[in-house]
């Protein structure tokens, strides 16, 4: 553990900025706090607990062009040379267009595809442990945990990213990290953890990357009592959060309550926007679209959210989650049931942004409290839950 005096903070940032892009919380012209690339002289804000959005955009980009492609027509000359026609073979299947003669290159255009790799070295500075844990939780998904596919785009950026987290001294009323195995000084995903104490910050390296950061000359050794002071800050913050629900059994509870009519009640004020997922540090669903003008274009990955009715809409017009409550249910089930089942962890780090920035303040804690309790083993006979299911689907009076 080291100590970073307050007056060394800017120098430390400048030091980091020499070899990487430094991203730190800064206010915009409306006074809203965002993670933004830091430039010397810019004011960094550590006072406010959370930025409006989590910094996930710096690794899992909201808009990420990952393929670029271009076509080239073979042009007039080539087109003229091309022999088309020939007799249709009598053998079935009947082709709409006669296949080109044997051995001839049938294509009249050439396609070039290249993948876009853009992963600059970066330091995300001053994020909170819940934000860092968001990365950690997404890492499971994009890293191919459990034998799934490995995402080279996310991981390249993740590999080039160092997380310097800041212990939360004064949690907000919407914070609930301790309920989901987190902590105001949690270390999941964190490379270097700073804890604000009088006169500066204690710094704990948690990884090799973090260790390397401590090489900066402005660090002092921890003075007497400073480690204890930091521990006090951590402990007080931890104690300041009263876990709003008991996490144990929640996946089973959500499974048991899948058809519970309470889903309908709780979703009433949901307006089906995507704010919760876009401010969330670990929601990772995305969309892929192509953009092309004339002969060249790109394939773009953009954030998507499960509240978007079009998210699951099939071209036939059928939508498995057409009703809002089904989409609502999916988000919580994904975080506390589906994801845990696949990745042996949780998809929520308890930052509480979804509560605070929801236009109607939908409260995740309330949802989990209400629907996360498993039915006792002897209770909940099958008929009941089925009946509830029918009830819920017909949407009759509840």
């Amino acid at each position: 553990m080291k100590f970073l005096p307050q007056d060394q903070l800017e120098a430390f940032l400048a030091h980091l900025a020499e070899s990487a892009i430094v991203v730190a919380p800064q206010r915009d012209q409306d006074g809203v706090l965002f993670f933004q690339p830091w430039e010397a002289g810019a004011e960094v804000e550590f006072e406010q607990l959370l930025t409006r959005q989590s910094p996930k955009d710096y690794v899992f980009r909201q808009t990420e062009t990952y393929l670029k492609f271009g076509y080239q027509m073979k042009g007039k000359a080539a087109a003229e040379e091309e022999e088309v026609g020939g007799k249709k073979s009598k053998d079935e299947p009947a082709a709409e267009e006669a296949p080109p003669a044997e051995g001839e290159e049938p294509a009249h255009e050439v396609l070039q595809v290249e993948t876009v790799e853009d992963a600059p070295e970066q330091v995300i500075f001053g994020l909170r442990p819940c934000d860092a844990r968001g990365y950690y939780q997404m890492d499971q998904v994009f890293g191919g945990y459990g034998g799934f596919y490995y995402d080279p785009y996310y991981m390249a950026k993740r590999e080039a990213t160092t997380l310097v987290a800041l212990t939360c001294a004064q949690p907000w009323s919407t914070c609930f990290c301790t309920a989901v195995y987190g902590s105001p000084s949690g270390t999941d995903g964190v490379d270097l953890l700073l804890t604000g104490i009088e006169g500066g910050f204690t710094a704990e390296a948690l990884t090799e990357r973090g260790e390397n950061l401590l090489g900066f000359g402005g660090f002092a050794d921890v003075g007497t009592g400073q480690a204890d002071a930091a521990q006090t800050v951590k402990d007080e913050a931890f104690a300041a959060i009263d876990p709003p629900f008991e996490i144990e059994g929640v996946p089973q509870g959500l499974r048991d309550n899948f058809e519970d009519p309470a889903w309908h009640d709780l979703q009433m004020r949901c307006i089906s926007c995507g704010t919760c997922t876009y401010v969330c540090p670990n929601c990772y669903c995305f969309n892929i679209t192509d953009e092309m003008v004339e002969k060249s274009g790109e394939r773009v990955r953009t954030w998507d959210n499960c509240f978007n009715p079009g998210y699951t809409l099939e071209t036939s017009g059928h939508n498995p989650r057409e009703q809002k409550f089904a989409r609502f249910r999916n988000r919580f089930s994904h975080k506390f049931w589906y994801y845990p089942e696949k990745y042996d962890s949780l998809l929520c780090s308890g930052c509480g942004r979804c509560i605070r920035y929801c236009p109607t303040k939908i409260d995740l804690r309330e949802v989990i409290r209400t629907l996360g309790r498993p039915h006792a083993a002897e209770a909940a006979p099958a008929e009941d839950s089925e009946a509830a299911g029918v009830h819920a689907q017909t949407g009759e009076d509840l």
Binding site: S173, V279, Y357
Partner: protein
Amino acid sequence: MSPANGNYEEVEQRIRELARTALEEGRVDYFIGWTAGYNESEVIPGFVRSADRVDALVWNPLAAYNLTAFLKRKMPDPPQAKIGLAVKGCDSRTLVSLLQEELVDRERLYVVGVPCEGIVNRRAVSKVFANEVVKIEVEDDTISVTNQDGETKQLAREEYLLDHCRSCKYPNPRYFDDLAGEAVTEPEDQAPMWREIEEFEALPEAEKDRLMAEAFEKCIRCYACINACPVCYCWDNCVCRARQPKLVSQKVNAQENLMFQMVHMFHVAGRCPSCGNCDRACPVEIPLYLLHRKMNKELKEMLDFEPGIDLEQKPVFQTFDVNDPFGQH
């Protein structure tokens, strides 16, 4: 806006009574009002399904949310629900817009009108402390704000009302079945209606361009604005997410974001009374409300039209007048 009369409790009681009666008599399946949020600085939409729960409903100057947004197609659950809801003056105008176009079924509605004396600009108020604001109280002309450390600041109510409340012309609902409490005095003159718009208009083009770019740079395209908008009605089939035709791409950048907002603006043109729900829903505080106010200013000048005033009116873009006083060239 005149100083507060301070009869919030009385109106609150009245809302509860009306909701209770409607629920008891089975006239509505549920009642939508306002209720307390996660702390004492928040008032949020509240849904009450049974008469014994009506005491959860509150009325105070934090009740900003325009509840008519919950009447939008596919919002009611069950779909054919009979709904009771409370509307303020500006909310009622969106309701009138919806009724004009028969986008809501009047037969399944029970509307409690709430005379309103202005809503607190919570966004501005919450910025008076760096840490969390946990309580906002309004008494007479003072707003008291308390943060998580228990410190309190007193603010002048007049300065911390929402912009459109400060120049509100229709504080009483335009449409309702029952009015909760007595109508408030309607202001006789409302001169500074377009003050903030005119200030913006006076800026040079390049400056407006820059401000727009800046504002929309930070848009995260969460679609909260359009989902909170009561008169936005594509709902499941929003054109901004459609690929055919591709008006807005999925890429998130200032241009696309502004284009997205333009789509919304033109779709609600002549139907939006600038209730400000989009603006307040925006998690990144883009001043959307200015765009819609500007639009209404222009419509007023073009056609002497104010949205949501008259049930018999047709939405301006669904009709025309051969003698429209413009475009003669």
